[in-house]
Symmetry: none
Subunit: 241 residues, 4 copies
Amino acid sequence: MEAVAQKAVLPASRRQPAGRKSQQRVREILQAGREVFSEKGYARATTAEIAQRLGVSEATVFSYFRGKRELCARVIGDWYDESIAAIEGGLPRDGTVRQQFAFIVRMHLQLMLESGTGICELVLSEGRTRHHDLSEALTEMQRRYTAPLMRVLARGQESGQIRNDLSLRLLRSLVFGPMEHVLWDATLANRRTDIDATADRLVDALWSALQPPNLELAALAQFSQDVGEAVRRLERERAAR
Amino acid sequence: MEAVAQKAVLPASRRQPAGRKSQQRVREILQAGREVFSEKGYARATTAEIAQRLGVSEATVFSYFRGKRELCARVIGDWYDESIAAIEGGLPRDGTVRQQFAFIVRMHLQLMLESGTGICELVLSEGRTRHHDLSEALTEMQRRYTAPLMRVLARGQESGQIRNDLSLRLLRSLVFGPMEHVLWDATLANRRTDIDATADRLVDALWSALQPPNLELAALAQFSQDVGEAVRRLERERAAR
Amino acid sequence: MEAVAQKAVLPASRRQPAGRKSQQRVREILQAGREVFSEKGYARATTAEIAQRLGVSEATVFSYFRGKRELCARVIGDWYDESIAAIEGGLPRDGTVRQQFAFIVRMHLQLMLESGTGICELVLSEGRTRHHDLSEALTEMQRRYTAPLMRVLARGQESGQIRNDLSLRLLRSLVFGPMEHVLWDATLANRRTDIDATADRLVDALWSALQPPNLELAALAQFSQDVGEAVRRLERERAAR
Amino acid sequence: MEAVAQKAVLPASRRQPAGRKSQQRVREILQAGREVFSEKGYARATTAEIAQRLGVSEATVFSYFRGKRELCARVIGDWYDESIAAIEGGLPRDGTVRQQFAFIVRMHLQLMLESGTGICELVLSEGRTRHHDLSEALTEMQRRYTAPLMRVLARGQESGQIRNDLSLRLLRSLVFGPMEHVLWDATLANRRTDIDATADRLVDALWSALQPPNLELAALAQFSQDVGEAVRRLERERAAR
DNA sequence: CATGAATGAGACTTCATTCAT
DNA sequence: AATGAATGAAGTCTCATTCAT
């Protein structure tokens, strides 16, 4: 799985070596990169520091990766790979739609928060940065990352448990949007978050949003709306006199 | 209101002039800055280009703004100021909670999408960048920006139309999260978005998520609430005569 | 006297006004300049601050003085003018060569130290800076400043009280060199200096250096020298065996 | 000795390389710096020109030196190091106080004048500039530079050949003051100076100033001193056989 | 393979100085 | 006379990236 991801993200550096030791080097650099990017964020991280942590020259880093941008993309890509594996591996195959949905939400929060605040910040932040040529790679990663949820949602729509008057794309925003927002809030406040409690509340609230609209309720709402409007119209007419 | 915000964000350069022409210059630079930052994003924008667009030297830019970072903060801050004014100014004072909620959602989408794709991207992107010292200013802007929604949500909770088992903070995430996600999706896809349709769907879905868990009761509660409000309004009218 | 100095130093700014109020302005600017240059030294002083102290715009300063350099030269020039006046005015006309010499030494130290450490530092420091086009003006000021001493020295040489086997120029260095060195030492150490004591010691030591060589002493010295040499020669010869 | 001095003056740039070629580069840059600073003086010299002379980018210069100020400090520091070495190396160990004194005076003039007018000017001028943070380094260099003279003076005071009613500090001013003054005169006049003649005259005049007030007694004291020394030397020789 | 060294580029910054009004 | 505004020029600094060995 990793190999695939790497190919997708990395056209590979011109002189990139391919031996066994090389693989090791790549991993070391990625590790150092993850640390530094996590600690400082993309902009404030320096290739010099990454190299230094390994006791390697900057040039070495650049012989394995095309550049800072790409290295960072790989760091994030690897995180996504691990996360995708965790979600796909842990998803309760036989669970109900709601169970699977809950699992994904909880897992997402867990992965983001337990990888360390740094990585969470990095992924959220870089997810909102246009990297000229690397955006597609990132977008692709995000697509793969959200794929499990998309499948669950599609299944839910088919079985009528999830409203099908909204596109999958919009539903996805409805789910990931709040999660990201909550996570970003958490990194900003640097607040320790109770994952379980937050996950429960989110699942609860989001699940309401995903359910098919209650027709009776809608009718009542419409009725109340109509009455309200009528009253207001009357007021306006009266005022105009 | 603008003045306050500007003071908060900008300690301003030492030699900053203050005359009328100055004000004009500031506006011009902000305009040029908005353009360049929008087109290139923060990182790829250069102070040199901003100056050049105005046919002005970089030194001039730096005599009005402490630096790239601050200029960008002002650009974003101004956008926020305008947006806050638009939302606070347009908010239907006498509308129902749901109407006000709908207004804010629609307005948010409109402001983001009609200010030009660039600004939308910039605001969303910079909102997720830690600028060491400027983050607080930005966070404050965001707080002010979301204040109207917070008030509506609070009002809704009081009147029982909005679930009060979730914190306002979480509710905010529930609302702004999806909106931002949708907007980011849109900028990524560079897709023309039907604001009205999207807004309607979002309002609809989000409103479900905001409802108190027991939907039927909630619907009835809201209905009685609406009728009650209308009646009270009528009475006030009558009393005023 | 001042007018003369000003002419020498200042070819005057193109648009320099000449009215009475102007004279006042010039004096004000010089005053502010003296303060700022004294406090910060030439390099760290800014025209902006000088203007600011007067509540005047920088441009105003530049309409009275060609530039920072020239303003500083004028500040120093004025100090020299005052000092020259003080020395020439106070010099005991009927005093002996030694009395006049002592007066000048003491006065020099006093003027330097009592004008404030800043001015002392400024004068000493700028005296050692090549100002491209202004050096001549400064040099000329220094020439005038040292003129009284030169006259005393010349009188001393004529009357045989001061050795005349050394040029006046060298004698001047012999006198001003130590004084400047002592003063610089004092500014470096920021040490409060006892002017009277220092002056007495300096006068005493310098007076020895100025006196005609004692021939008998010289003969004895030569004799001892010869004996010493002879002894050494013997030693060397013995060692070579 | 050099290493120590360099460490004291230069915390060095973060990315400073350290190989052999590096050492060479450092020397080249110092050389270029010495040239440019000598020719233009500190203020008018530009880092750009220094880099250009070497056909090197400014960034390179800044990767070896923290900045213009520091580079200049090193240039001067190196000159001091060389000079100190020359003086300490050439000082006649067995010479009389007066011989050593004369040697130092002559050497000082020689070093200043034969390193090229530029360096002389630079050293004298920068010695009188407060560089905020670098002054201490310079002051320390000057302390080391004057140390040999201080030792000689102290020895002279002990043996009664030099007046001990004046502090060493004042005596130092008495010696270096005139020398610096003469040298500055020379650079101002851009005059070719006869080093030997000037040195002889200075030594002669200064020696008088250093003598104990009572000249005849002093002369005799010195004579007996000289003879005594010679005799002792002879005895030592004899004992060693 | 690794790396020492160099560097282009751009951000910032500060000022003295100029000029139109 | 005065000044608000602009600016050229240089310093300072930081990095990602390249390349010859």
